[in-house]
């Protein structure tokens, strides 16, 4: 009789590859292959229906000089810089509020998380209606409460991008809240008790003990918030529907909400300038890679672990 601890040759040499085969196919066909292909595309002028020709670094050179791309880059940066503090502070506030032994916290957490699971296609459509300059609920409330006429929100190039920042805060604060909550619950009670004995009030305890101990979590939330802002797409695509405002092309009005991924999408799939789109995608890739490296590299140094 064979020893039951001895695997057969099949189990040892063949079976493992049967287990991982689907994932390996996916890894090469849908991940690694496309990453390399994309890089090759970025050195070509490529139209899916006419084929391509090699043009070296011309796409990158064009991006460097293209005024439209400068604006796109600037829009993405503006979005990130506005969204970062609002998103981080609001979700930290939510986490502090629901990190409590009072009754009903489970319900409030569930409510605050609801937008996170909701389809952006629907939520964006709803917010475009709420923000309708003439008949939307938001401007009606502004009129009633503040007595002034509300802004044009998505209708004006001056306010459109910022409107999306606000909606995005509403959409995502529940997500970072959960992460902050986990961090808050990791703060040792003894530290807080000791500070309380020393006479530190609630506010002082928060800023002197909780916040420093929370810094790994805060650092993580900041990183992930930046990466996600660079990749914003769904919300802009939905909220710049023609009915949302004057001249409402995707990324409009007047290119004011044309961010990096919207531009990749338009170039690659609307104008079929796939080489140019791929070059933009690689710029995004490099940005995200730099931030991820910063995360790995500096996590230990900046952050105060207990």
């Amino acid at each position: 009789m064979r020893n039951p601890f001895d695997s057969t040759r099949f189990e040892k040499y063949i079976a493992p590859y049967i287990f991982v085969l689907p994932m390996l196919i996916g890894l090469f066909v849908f991940r690694l292959g496309p990453v390399v292909w994309s890089l090759l595309l970025s050195f070509q002028r490529y139209n899916p229906f006419q084929g391509g020709s090699w043009i070296g670094l011309d796409n990158y050179r064009e991006l460097w000089q293209d005024k439209d791309f400068h604006q796109i880059f600037f829009n993405t940066l503006k979005f990130t810089l506005a969204y970062l503090p609002l998103g981080v502070i609001s979700s930290l506030l939510l986490a502090v509020l629901v990190d409590s032994r009072l009754k009903g916290m489970v319900l409030f957490r569930a409510i605050y998380f609801l937008p996170v699971i909701s389809a952006v296609a629907a939520v964006g459509t709803i917010w475009a209606w709420l923000l309708n300059p003439l008949y939307g609920l938001v401007n009606y409330l502004i009129k009633v409460v503040l007595g002034v006429t509300g802004p044009e929100w998505l209708g004006s190039p001056r306010t459109a991008l910022f409107s999306m920042v606000l909606v995005n805060v509403w959409l995502t604060m529940g997500y970072s809240m959960v992460i902050f909550l986990a961090g808050l619950q990791g703060v040792p009670q003894e530290f807080l008790d000791a500070a309380w004995v020393d006479g530190a009030g609630k506010v002082k305890r928060f800023f002197r003990i909780v916040l420093p101990l929370l810094s790994p979590t805060t650092f993580f939330v900041i990183i992930i918030t930046i990466i996600r802002s660079f990749q914003i797409f769904d919300l802009v695509y939905i909220m710049t529907a023609p009915s949302a405002g004057e001249g409402g092309a995707i990324g409009g009005p007047a290119n004011s909400t044309n961010v990096l991924v919207i531009s990749i999408f338009l170039n690659a799939f609307k104008y079929y300038r796939m080489g140019y789109g791929a070059a933009e995608a690689y710029i995004l890739f490099i940005l995200v890679a730099i931030i991820t490296l910063v995360q790995f590299r500096f996590q230990k140094r900046w952050v105060h672990y207990q």
Binding site: A110, A121, F285
Partner: protein
């Protein structure tokens, strides 16, 4: 006296705490309520000032109009099919690969696993243009079985593989050895020991896969163009883009897009939160 004062202060703080919580909950919920309210209004009262929260007259017809005349029933069926296929398929592929990475020894294991982790950090946009070209070559655009949406999620579920691998690593080796002593093959050990013990992790992955697929917008935009083949997200986006569609119908369409997942969220909230936060935590 002092204790009474202190109690009053505690009570006041508690009241303030709740007031803030309720205030924020209102801000979170009002858009959904407003969607519900608008979806039941007649077209004539949409521009009414002041707007009413509860419509004077309920136009239930809006729902049947959106479902039947504007194809949202069809979109829903498509979305359910795609989401279930993505969810079930990922349970298979990710658990198989996760098991191999956690428990089997084979040439290249750590290398492939490292590659899988590395690709999780690459933005989708870097890969989507070649992916589109692949789908075009395969003829999967507007494929009747939605292969362009389903197959990538089956084969490239790196998050699910990672999640299940971590979970499988926590299962005691004694159980595996016991199975081997009984003469079980490796497939039987996977099927009869590891899967039954991993129900919470499998549920988390299933919910996460269903949700990602249900809410996905980019791939449906690229791969679904004929109206009959649309899922809810792209169907709603296309519907809302038409300039002559009234807000009440748009809101009814949004309702049908949100409701199924919201109901699922009511029953399986824990798994939603787990899947979403873990998928973020991996980077």
């Amino acid at each position: 006296m002092i204790s009474a004062q202190k109690r009053a202060k505690t009570l006041l703080l508690r009241a303030l705490h709740y007031l803030t919580l309720v205030g924020i909950a209102t801000v979170v919920l009002v858009p959904f309520l407003w969607m519900l309210s608008t979806s039941l209004k007649g077209s004539g009262v949409l521009q009414e000032i002041p707007p009413r929260l509860v419509p004077e007259k309920f136009f239930w017809n809006n729902y049947s109009e959106v479902l039947f005349k504007h194809h949202f029933l069809r979109y829903s069926v498509n979305s359910v099919y795609v989401a279930l296929m993505a969810g079930i398929g990922q349970l298979f592929t990710c658990s198989l690969a996760g098991f191999a990475f956690a428990r089997l020894k084979f040439w290249g294991r750590d290398f492939f696993f490292a590659l899988l982790l590395a690709t999780m950090m690459i933005p989708l946009q870097v890969m989507i243009i070649p992916e589109f070209l692949i789908m075009l070559k395969l003829g999967w655009v507007d494929h009747p079985l939605f292969l362009a949406l389903i197959v990538p999620s089956w084969l490239a579920g790196s998050f699910g593989t990672f999640l299940l691998r971590q979970f499988f690593m926590t299962i005691p080796r004694d159980l595996e050895d016991a199975g081997r002593i009984d003469g079980c093959s490796i497939f039987v050990i996977y099927r009869r020991i590891f899967l039954p013990l991993s129900m919470p992790a499998l549920a988390t992955l299933f919910i996460f896969a269903v949700m990602s697929s249900w809410n996905d917008l980019l791939r449906p935009i690229l791969y679904l163009s004929s109206q009959k083949m649309m899922t809810l997200t792209i169907g709603l986006a296309t519907f809302s883009r038409q300039y002559d569609v009234n807000e009440n119908l748009k809101m009814a369409g949004s309702l049908f897009t949100l409701l199924p997942l919201a109901i699922l969220y009511g029953f399986a909230q824990k798994y939603f939160v787990q899947g979403i936060t873990l998928s973020g935590l991996k980077g």
